[in-house]
Amino acid sequence: MPPPRFTGGGSFSFRGRSNLSVAITREDFDRSKCFAGIARGIAGALLFALPMFMTMEMWELGFYMDRSRLFLLLIVNIPLLVILSDRIGFERTSTWRQAIRDASIAYGLGVLGSALILFAMGVLKYDQSLHEIIGMIAIQAIPASIGAMLGRSQLGGQSDDGDDAKEGDSDDPVHERETSYAGELFLMAVGALFLNLNVAPTEEMILLSYKMTPWHALLMIAASLAVMHGFVYALSFKGSHDLAEGMPSWHAFVRFTLPGYVIAGLISAYCLWTFHRTDDIGSTQILMAVVVLGFPGAIGAAAARLIL
């Protein structure tokens, strides 16, 4: 506001003050909302990524992992966070610009949170080489940033969704709440990736695949499909899916559960490759490891359809 207004009569200065005070409160409000959002992000990163911060294999991967695979993972994470932010960001009216902003905040929180926690736990020390330190922080930042993003949406901001849900009651629920087919598959991919990142670095995944006979693997495929279908359609969890009138249940099995399982399998294969679990390994053994990792992946994919 130009200075002459403030030096004018009493009413002007009063108006000036009142505007100023409003401005201050609005700024304070935004700031507290912003801090709350960041705090939620950190809480989410902790909640979702702490198991990985405390996994020995994740630390080791930080320094021996092939840098081109790490780079690819870091790059892939960017569109993932942006789309995730657009899909589940807690402001319904979010634009792509806001989605990119939120994604970069989440990524930043992921990097910062990883660095702080790894130093706080003594995993990282100052005398380590920069190569190791950056590698460890970078790999932990992936799950932490997804956690930060999920934390912002799942741990808060529900009041915004409430209005939408109310509108959804009166409107056609198929169009109001239902996402596009691609959106549904994307959510499954995120859910699978998240659970896979938790367990893929551990040695147990490949050890299990070595211990299992092919018969165990076949059983595991059947179990994964059954659990995945059951989670979403049969167990009546909150957010579970119903079929349209007169639609046989195998329709949903073919259209959603099978593609979901294939996505979980592809994500598993990608995670195993990224973490060097497929190097020099025969194709059957890789397939078995994918089936093993596909089990948590399938559960993650199903859970994502319920939760997100």
């Binding site: 092919p214 579970s240 119903d242 073919v254 593609p259 294939v262």
Partner: protein
């Protein structure tokens, strides 16, 4: 969360053909995986690993002569804690013996490692072989 709201999702009754196409492709992939693993379940069942050592290359490094090797497992059974013995012999007598342990050599796969000798294996007999293993 205690707030209750109606967020039942209903799958569309008349889906786009893309959904069916994706479903069919996925079914083919899943059946393919099942067939692949099923084939191994029926025909390819070895009870013990078959480990063969191969020397890949020898390099002069700061710590000595570094021999990179590969242990191949031609059986479908996986070996773990595979001890690898490397020996340099000259005219029947062992000049140097070095060993290492590989975590896993999975079935129909290979695992790599390195042995570091003090003497140059050039012109002498160099053997790398697996000497023991565990079941995973």
């Amino acid at each position: 969360m205690t707030r209750i709201f109606n967020d039942k999702n209903v799958e569309a009754g008349e889906p786009h053909w893309i959904e069916w196409a994706t479903g069919v492709v996925s079914a083919v992939i899943v059946l393919g995986v099942i067939a692949w693993i099923g084939k191994d379940a029926l025909v390819d069942r070895d009870s013990s690993p078959n480990l063969v050592g191969v020397v890949l290359q020898t390099e002069k490094r700061g710590g000595g002569f570094q021999v990179l090797f590969e242990i191949r497992n031609d059986s479908s059974a996986t070996a773990s804690q595979v001890t690898v013995q490397g020996e340099i012999r000259e005219q029947g007598s062992v000049l140097e013996n070095v060993e290492t342990v590989l975590d896993y050599v999975p079935g129909h796969s290979k695992a790599r490692g390195g042995l570091i000798f003090q003497q140059d294996p050039a012109g002498k007999t160099l053997t790398v072989r697996a000497s023991s293993f565990d079941e995973p």
